[in-house]
């Protein structure tokens, strides 16, 4: 990075450290923090969407839809996250390749499953074997986002389902008395009022999601835990910057990162709760009204 870093063995103290912290490998490490934040940014809205759809399905008047919604939450919630992560990523990956194989290689005669091997035609590989490392990373990341969204969507569905049930019945009946259709009641009265009931549960989920991001490592994405372990390990003089076991410092860094992330989230969420409580027929909303009056 800096000109004086050409020969690290001649440096010590602060210059050494400044060179050490700006190696290509360290930039991979810093980049992985952004990957984690990006994962959160992609997963949170997707999981919320999945949750919303799940909750809507679970309280739908149509029986099969109701079954679908309930089965989704029950199944995903009933399986340990790790098992789901390990299983789902392989299933999704092989499922896509299998599907593509059926379309692009109809003349392929060899079986796809040969003993322990899973073998599709080369054109059906996802991503293609000639794709750059960046595509592979993007693919791994996309799989991670989908898996996280499905898992956390199931929890969110249950929270939102409960929140929808918690909206006072009188509110809905009043809306109906004003002549609103079912759809209008749902959109104008139920949904705006249910958020305040859903928020404590959703904020819990958000913090759990933040803390679950090291599972990325299981999905083959080189995340902050991977890099912290790799960078912190003892380095002999094969490396340009030899050092003893520094994992403690790297993991301490991660600890601080997660504490800051959850602390900031809590600040934002408490603000959001206050905003959503305003004018609501809840104890918090009532207290606000009285304080204002």
């Amino acid at each position: 990075m800096f000109a004086y870093c050409a020969d690290p063995s001649s440096l010590d103290g602060l210059p050494w450290l400044s060179c050490y912290l700006t190696t290509g490998k360290h930039f991979d490490f810093y980049w992985s923090f952004l990957v984690v934040l990006l994962l959160l940014a992609c997963t949170a809205p997707l999981a919320l969407g999945m949750g919303f759809l799940g909750a809507m399905a679970a309280r739908s008047p149509v029986l099969p839809l109701r079954w679908l919604g309930r089965a989704y939450t029950a199944m995903v919630r009933g399986v340990p996250d790790i098992v789901f992560f390990l299983f789902f990523v392989i299933a999704l990956d092989q499922g896509m390749e299998w599907l593509l194989h059926q379309v692009v290689c109809p003349d392929w005669t060899e079986p796809i499953r040969q003993g322990l091997e899973f073998r599709v035609c080369p054109q059906a590989k996802v991503p293609a074997s000639s794709a750059s490392a960046g595509w592979y990373q993007a693919y791994g990341f996309a799989l991670a986002v989908v898996t996280f969204s499905i898992v956390f969507g199931a929890f969110a569905a249950n929270v939102i389902f409960g929140a929808m049930q918690a909206v006072p019945k009188a509110q809905l009946e009043t809306a109906e008395a004003y002549g609103m259709s079912n759809r209008q009641v749902f959109r104008r009265v139920l949904v705006p009022q249910m958020w305040v009931f859903a928020l404590p549960g959703l904020s819990n989920l958000w913090v759990i999601l933040i803390k679950a991001t090291p599972l990325l490592f299981l999905l083959g994405v080189q995340d902050i835990v991977y890099w912290a372990r790799e960078l912190g390990g003892t380095k002999t003089s094969v490396f340009e910057y030899p050092h003893p076991d520094w994992r403690l410092y790297y993991f301490l860094g991660l600890l601080i990162f997660y504490l800051i992330a959850t602390y900031l989230s809590e600040k934002v969420l408490s603000r959001l709760t206050a905003n959503l409580s305003r004018g609501q027929a809840t104890a918090a909303g009532e207290a606000m009204r009285k304080a204002g009056a």
């Binding site: 190696t23 290509g24 490998k25 930039f27 991979d28 392989i90 990956d93 092989q94 896509m96 390749e97 599907l99 593509l100 379309v103 692009v104 060899e110 040969q114 003993g115 322990l116 091997e117 899973f118 073998r119 599709v120 080369p122 054109q123 590989k125 996802v126 991503p127 293609a128 074997s129 000639s130 794709a131 750059s132 490392a133 595509w135 592979y136 693919y139 083959g220 080189q222 372990r229 790799e230 390990g233 003892t234 002999t236 003089s237 094969v238 490396f239 340009e240 910057y241 030899p242 076991d245 994992r247």
Partner: protein, 240 residues
């Protein structure tokens, strides 16, 4: 229609399916001097050099990727990559599920490293990397086996007293002992394990295996392989 869209999207993900097949080489990236991630963040080490040279000789386009050691064989079988080049010792047990190329490193010694030279390796707590031939050896030797995901963690366990000694490939341990300022010592006992190190490939990939075997033979014949072994493992490196 939906299916068609999905397929198109998947094809696009492949970033234009090229006609020439690329061979994907997978390594662990945590086992210097065999393979490691250098300070620039790239795969480096003896196997990087050997792999690139083999691909050149076999006229293959190769790309590198890293994978956790413990899942390196299952991910080969599910097609995430085509070749394992990660200091993997050829053993009968592994030979049953994957194909090995001819060895590109002759059988080498495994050794113990400890804080003091008087550790009893038959009764003590011995650390090793999970799913390695060394871990299997320790388990059979009567000592208490302590397994770790990475080689580095198995060494760290000795430093912090969790294990009495670590059992691993000698070429991996020797530089660590030499640079520990006397904190770690190699024990006298050495054990020959396996039939050398080879490339791991799927059993169905016989054509690829033939290409790599030919390339390895040509590197053995003109002495480039021996030169690389000496470069990375020093004078004591076992050559062909």
């Amino acid at each position: 229609m939906k299916k068609l869209l999905l397929v198109t999207a998947l094809l696009a993900f492949g970033a234009g399916v090229a006609s020439a097949q690329t061979v994907r080489l997978a390594t662990e990236g945590a086992f210097p001097p065999y393979n490691f991630i250098n300070d620039a963040g790239e795969v480096d080490g003896f196997e990087r050099k050997v792999g690139d040279e083999l691909c050149k000789r076999a006229s293959l386009t190769c790309t590198w990727t890293t994978n956790e050691w413990d899942s390196i064989i299952p991910n080969l079988q599910s097609g995430n990559y085509d070749v394992i080049i990660a200091g993997m010792t050829i053993t009968d047990e592994r030979e049953k599920i994957i194909n090995f190329s001819e060895n590109y490193i002759p059988p080498t010694m495994s050794a113990y490293m400890a804080l003091t030279p008087d550790v009893d390796v038959k009764t003590g707590v011995i650390s090793a990397q999970i799913s390695t031939t060394q871990a299997g050896y320790v388990a059979a030797s009567g000592a208490t086996l302590l397994e770790f995901a990475t080689p580095d963690e198995s060494v760290a366990a000795v430093r912090n007293g969790e294990a009495d000694a670590v059992f691993a490939d000698k070429d991996y341990l020797a530089p660590i002992a030499a640079e520990s300022n006397g904190a770690l010592v190699m024990l006298a006992e050495e054990v020959p394990i396996g039939d050398g190190v080879g490339l791991g490939m799927r059993e169905s990939d016989t054509e690829l295996k033939a290409k790599f075997d030919a390339a390895i033979q040509s590197m053995k014949a003109d002495g480039t392989l021996n030169a690389l072994i000496e470069e990375y493992f020093g004078e004591t490196g076992v050559t062909f």
